[in-house]
């Protein structure tokens, strides 16, 4: 029911939303919880294990009961706290973990058998037979016990990530946070103020406190107005700081569009990474319940929540309210309720020495021992100093005291300290470097101390930043002491819940201790206490108090479990914002990309690059037909292929040759200008890192090429070698991969094509020559190198001419019976020629293994040379590169293993594997490259090719890896 004149909602703006198919009306500013309570809906969920009917317990993000699904057009979000979700027109929500309906849930049968379902039940019961666990027990249990459900579809919602920096981060905008922000704002430093709620003010708004003799909301509004006018202040409402990390970094989640519904380009949430020089944690405190029998009924709420609903939303979810508390705080709630015209049945104060003077009955030394009302509270009964009591009541407001919200101070391994006078843990100073806790999260439970601590924390931060403080005046405020007598549990017949979200009772904790799980970390895992979405915010302290009681240890000795980020349940989608689908990595496109796509070429990913797989022609029905035709271009006429993806590194300086000698196995300082040499690069451990060709363009100028896959790796390697081995050498290098578009022109007609195309025909340009040519007046680089075994050239032009050159070359090749070729054809061509890629040099392979031991120059040292001579890295026991030719025209596969015919097909008998396979039209069969133990000495042998994943069992001949033009006559033609 709504109370006239109360609340910070906009009563001129009614909002309709749905819960479980029924439309309800609330007001702008309502949460789902406040609007449902205003509509008299008390039952909002079912509990995790026993499917107990549950209602709203809190008014904040720590809510353990009122978890709902929000159903959007493209999203379905489970476990949304109804206490956080603001309503908007068209919002569609439903309850979860119930079937067929919330009021009638057949799984509530679990509740009847609850004596059997105590902690450890599953562990004990479903032990046997072992195989049944995964197949039968677990699926059934998972279906019966649970939270919300997912749609099973990709979350295609828009999420955002962002970075922010500030001098002072203030977490929370209650009295402490606002005072800290104000102090820092006036001093002129950059302030970020994060507030989880939509409104600034924190408990000031819920408590209905007075500052400077006026309602606190007026002071909050004045401070907010001043902060908003400061260009150095950024106010971030609806933003929860979720974690503290090294270097003053904090994660925060902002609800951007969750309260507005879907709008184009509006993100649902934003994941912030905030870096702060100093931080004031002013996160407040969370009220805790008392574990009395049957304390989980809808209609039993925390007193602070009742107060929030009254003062923030103008809602009192009951007609006859009772308060049950072990501290003074609940008295203010009772008085405010009565002032608002609500009937208060009684105050049940567990302390026998507390004041009995109120405008309603007060029972001292009181304890609630039973409650009634399955779908909503009807009555309670219990004992007090004068005997027993029984009360008709539909709303029981409970306060077991307050726990400082110190979670973030524990994120860097800090542990809190038990403060007996508060019956609560408080944070240690400096638990997070440069973070100061102030106000209620630091154990200050009255408004005046909160204001004072907030201002002091800001001034300390300003001093550390070397900035003069403005010394903002504090408003006058109440400084009521916090008086509490701990009451953790009430004995009685019924179950007493600690963790509402995971259905953990005091009995479960006692059982855990009885069975030996008496460490708090063990108890947590045995009972699942604190493992629900609220992460024990409502139950940790209560549970460990019960554990301490059971084991006879004190609370400080028992200790707490570890608080870890995130502070609130955080969607994975927001943490991965922007990374779904193509957003996962940048896409790199060639200059020829459009030209290739115009020809219908399917693209394959090569690292981040997109390269044409093959170029289909009309009438071709399989990729293999296209591939075979393209191979024919290169072997018979001329083919054109974009090879710009290969890494290109420009190396200059007097010591450039010396540097190359150091990183390559062979000698490059002796390479003649205008010549190209093939090079092999080793890692420091002696294995092959990469291979490629390097051209000498001038006396002190080289151009290195790398494989596409290892371009970045090689650049990093060169940088490392330079900085660690020879920083003083006269050598400089930079990637020019993107600066040149480079195309292979290969085949017997390659030279004819170039001669007809270049501004001057080629003169003497032998195999492994490099030089400068001119194309349409554009200076180009030409290299006579080949990755196909045919006469081959690679021509490079500045990238901006790449597309034009590709289209021209292809058009010319087509007039000569050739055309473009893609990755499939390129792969077959290089296998036929026995040329390696990273399929061969996979990181486990030495120069010896690929038959390149002679390339490791004896005349000089190089990175990895010494390591490559270690025992075991060369010799007959090594798997060495060989060619593999099936005896008949049968399919072989890369990844297949090699066995001696007749040998048992077991792992230890594997003689090696196949690394690359392509169908060779020249040989009319698959050809493979692979690695076989002592392979070079076994040419002519027959091995058995086994691929059990693809049912391959084929005999193949071991041969030289070079199948085509062994003597290189075509290359040099």
């Amino acid at each position: 029911m709504r109370i006239a004149g109360k609340g910070l909602i906009d009563r001129s703006k009614p909002v309709n939303f749905k819960f479980d198919g029924k439309t309800y009306q609330g007001f702008k500013g309502d949460t789902v919880a406040s609007a449902l309570l205003a509509n008299g809906v008390k039952l909002v969920g079912r509990s995790f294990k026993y499917h107990r009917p549950r209602g709203v317990l809190t008014a904040g993000s720590e809510e353990p009961n009122a978890m709902i699904e929000v159903v959007g057009t493209s999203n379905q979000t489970p476990n949304v706290r109804a206490t956080v979700q603001e309503i908007f027109e068209g919002l569609n929500t439903r309850s979860q973990n119930r079937w067929p309906s919330l009021r009638f849930d057949v799984m509530a049968v679990n509740d009847m058998v609850s004596p059997f379902l105590s902690a450890g039940f599953y562990y004990k019961t479903f032990m046997w037979p072992r195989a049944f666990w995964e197949a039968i027990y677990e699926p059934i249990i998972r279906r019966a016990a649970g939270l919300g459900s997912l749609s099973g579809k990709h979350d295609e919602g828009h999420y955002e990530k962002a970075f922010a920096f500030c001098d002072l981060l203030v977490i929370g905008s209650g009295p402490a946070g606002l005072m800290a922000a104000l102090e820092a704002a006036r001093a002129g430093v950059d302030v970020i103020l994060c507030e989880e709620d939509r409104l600034l003010g924190g408990r000031l708004l819920s408590d209905d406190a007075h500052l400077d003799g006026k309602p606190a909301a007026e002071w909050v509004a004045a401070v907010e107005a001043e902060l908003r006018a400061c260009p150095n202040v950024r106010i971030m409402p609806r933003t929860t700081v979720t974690g503290a990390y090294d270097g003053g970094q904090y994660s925060a989640v902002e609800r951007v569009g969750l309260h507005k519904g879907p709008r184009p380009d509006l993100p649902r949430e934003c994941f912030w990474r905030i870096t702060a020089a100093r931080t004031v944690l002013a996160a407040g405190a969370l009220e805790r319940s008392i574990a009395f029998p049957m304390n989980d009924r809808p209609g039993i709420m925390l007193a602070s929540a009742v107060q929030s609903y009254l003062n923030k939303f103008g809602v009192v979810p009951g007609k006859r309210v009772t308060l049950f508390a072990n501290n003074d705080g609940a008295r203010a709630v009772a008085r405010q309720l009565m002032a608002a015209g609500v009937s208060v049945a009684a105050i049940l104060d567990s302390r026998s020495d507390a004041s009995a003077v109120e405008d309603c009955p007060v029972y001292l030394g009181a304890q609630v021992t039973d409650t009634k009302g399955r779908l909503g509270l009807r009555a309670i009964s219990g004992t007090h100093v004068g005997g027993e009591f029984a009360l008709e009541t539909d709303l029981l407001a409970v306060s077991g005291g307050w726990n400082p919200t110190l979670h973030i101070t524990c994120h860097l391994n800090g542990r809190p300290r038990w403060e007996a006078s508060l019956a609560a843990f408080v944070p240690l100073a400096d638990a997070v470097p440069n973070l100061t806790a102030a106000g209620a999260c630091n154990g200050a439970f009255d408004t005046l101390t909160c204001l004072t601590e907030g201002a002091a924390a800001a001034r300390a931060a300003l001093a550390a930043l070397g900035v003069a403080a403005a010394n903002a005046a504090l408003p006058t405020a109440e400084g009521m002491p916090y008086v509490i007598a701990p009451l953790w549990q009430v004995a009685g017949k019924g179950r007493a819940w600690l963790d509402f979200a995971n259905d953990v009772t005091t009995k479960d904790v006692k059982l855990a201790a009885q069975e030996g799980y008496s460490s708090v970390e063990h108890m947590k895992r045995y009972t699942t206490q604190g493992m629900a979405p609220d992460q024990g915010k409502n139950s940790n302290v209560g549970a460990l108090a019960v554990l301490a009681d059971t084991t006879g240890r004190g609370i400080p000795e028992t200790g707490t479990t570890t608080f870890r980020p995130p502070f609130i349940p955080t969607s994975i989608a927001v943490m991965g914002a922007g990374g779904r689908g193509a957003g996962f990595a940048p896409q790199r496109f060639l200059t020829s990309d459009q030209a290739s796509r115009d020809r219908g070429a399917p693209m394959i990913e090569a690292g981040l690059w997109y390269r044409p797989s093959y170029f289909p022609k009309p009438g071709e029905t399989t990729w293999l037909e296209s591939c075979n035709r393209e191979i024919g271009y290169v072997r018979g006429a001329v083919g054109v292929c974009d090879v710009s993806t290969l890494g290109k590194i420009d190396i200059q300086g007097k010591d450039a040759g010396r540097f190359l000698d150091l990183v390559y196995t062979s000698m490059f300082s002796t390479l003649a200008v205008g010549r190209v040499r093939y090079g092999l690069m080793l890692r420091a451990d002696g294995y092959v890192l990469d291979d490629g060709t390097t051209a000498r363009l001038g006396e002190n100028h080289y151009l290195m090429t790398t494989t596409t896959a290892a371009a970045g790796l090689v650049m990093r390697h060169l940088d490392f070698v330079h900085q660690s081995e020879c920083a003083d050498w006269d050598v400089r290098f930079i990637s020019v991969t993107e600066s040149w578009a480079q195309f292979a022109v290969a085949g017997p007609q390659a030279r004819a094509l170039l001669n007809g195309y270049l501004d001057q025909p080629l003169g003497d340009f032998p195999f492994m020559a490099a030089g400068t040519v001119s194309v349409g007046g554009v200076a180009a680089r030409l290299f006579r190198i080949s990755f196909s075994g045919e006469e081959g050239y690679e021509i490079a032009v500045p990238t901006r001419y790449g597309e034009a050159l590709f289209r021209d070359l292809v058009a010319r090749a087509e007039t000569m019976g050739g055309g473009p070729y893609g990755m499939e054809a390129l792969n077959v061509l290089r296998i036929e020629k026995g040329l390696i890629t990273h399929a061969e040099i996979d990181g486990r392979v030495t120069a010896f293994d690929i038959g390149a031991a002679k390339m490791v120059s004896a005349k000089k040292d190089c990175i990895g040379k010494l390591a490559s001579t270690r025992p075991g890295l060369h010799g007959p026991e090594r798997a060495q590169m060989v060619g593999l030719k099936p005896l008949s025209a049968q399919k072989i596969t890369s990844g297949a293993h090699l066995f001696i015919p007749g040998a048992d097909l077991s792992r230890v008998n594997s003689q090696g594997h196949i690394s690359s396979v392509g169908y060779s039209p020249m040989f009319d069969r698959d050809l493979g490259l692979g690695f076989l133990v002592n392979g070079r000495a076994r040419h002519g042998e027959t091995v058995r090719v086994i691929d059990r994943l693809r049912d391959i069992d084929v005999l193949a001949e071991v041969c030289d890896p070079v199948f085509h033009d062994k003597d290189g006559e075509k290359l040099r033609a």
């Binding site: 940048p586 496109f589 060639l590 400089r732 930079i734 194309v775 034009a804």
Partner: protein
């Protein structure tokens, strides 16, 4: 004789979102200049006729349409000017086609970059005239602040479409937030 048509990465694309403009700049010639050990002063002297020297770390300078930006350890990019002869003083390479240059100017510029750039871009930390090698989301970038609300970005040419897409998303997101 063939005639090769030059194309920039994004063919001069331009986008305006809520008063903020994202546009490709045709940067003309880009030369990397990497002074050999001990030659930085001499290189600076050789550059002086252009109106600037070799840039200090994390800075750039502009004069009459020519620009020189720090682009990494012992390395600068000379943009939009002919490079004087630095033979023996520095390694010079042509980087013109390897990059796409973008201009991002307007009220949303800083916040749009804050979606992807993990760097403090408050004016005190990254003032006008500052340059940095920093990521734009997953991409490496040379970032220059040309005005309080104006930036010049250089990214690998091959990634131009991704970079454009990311910034466009950020701008539209910010506009939707403000709506």
């Amino acid at each position: 004789m063939p005639e090769l048509i030059a194309k920039t990465a994004l063919a001069g694309k331009k986008l305006v979102v809520a008063g903020t403009t994202l546009a490709e700049i045709d940067h003309g010639a880009v030369r990397s200049i990497a002074p050999y050990p001990g030659q930085e002063l001499a290189v600076g002297q050789a550059l002086l006729p252009l109106g600037f020297g070799f840039p200090a770390v994390n800075s750039f300078a502009e004069k009459d349409g020519a620009l020189i930006a720090w682009a990494g350890r012992e390395q600068a990019f000379l943009i939009g000017a002919d490079c004087p002869d630095l033979g023996g003083l520095a390694a010079v390479t042509d980087q013109s086609g390897g990059w796409v240059s973008l201009s991002l100017q307007g009220p949303l510029a800083v916040e749009a970059l804050a979606r992807y750039v993990p760097m403090d871009m408050r004016l005190a930390a990254f003032p006008v005239g500052a340059a940095a090698r920093t990521p734009l989301y997953h991409m490496s970038m040379v970032l220059m602040r040309v005005a309080e609300d104006g930036f010049r970005l250089m990214l690998f040419r091959s990634m131009a479409r991704t970079a454009w897409h990311e910034i466009e998303v950020a701008l539209k997101t910010l506009a939707a937030r403000a709506a």
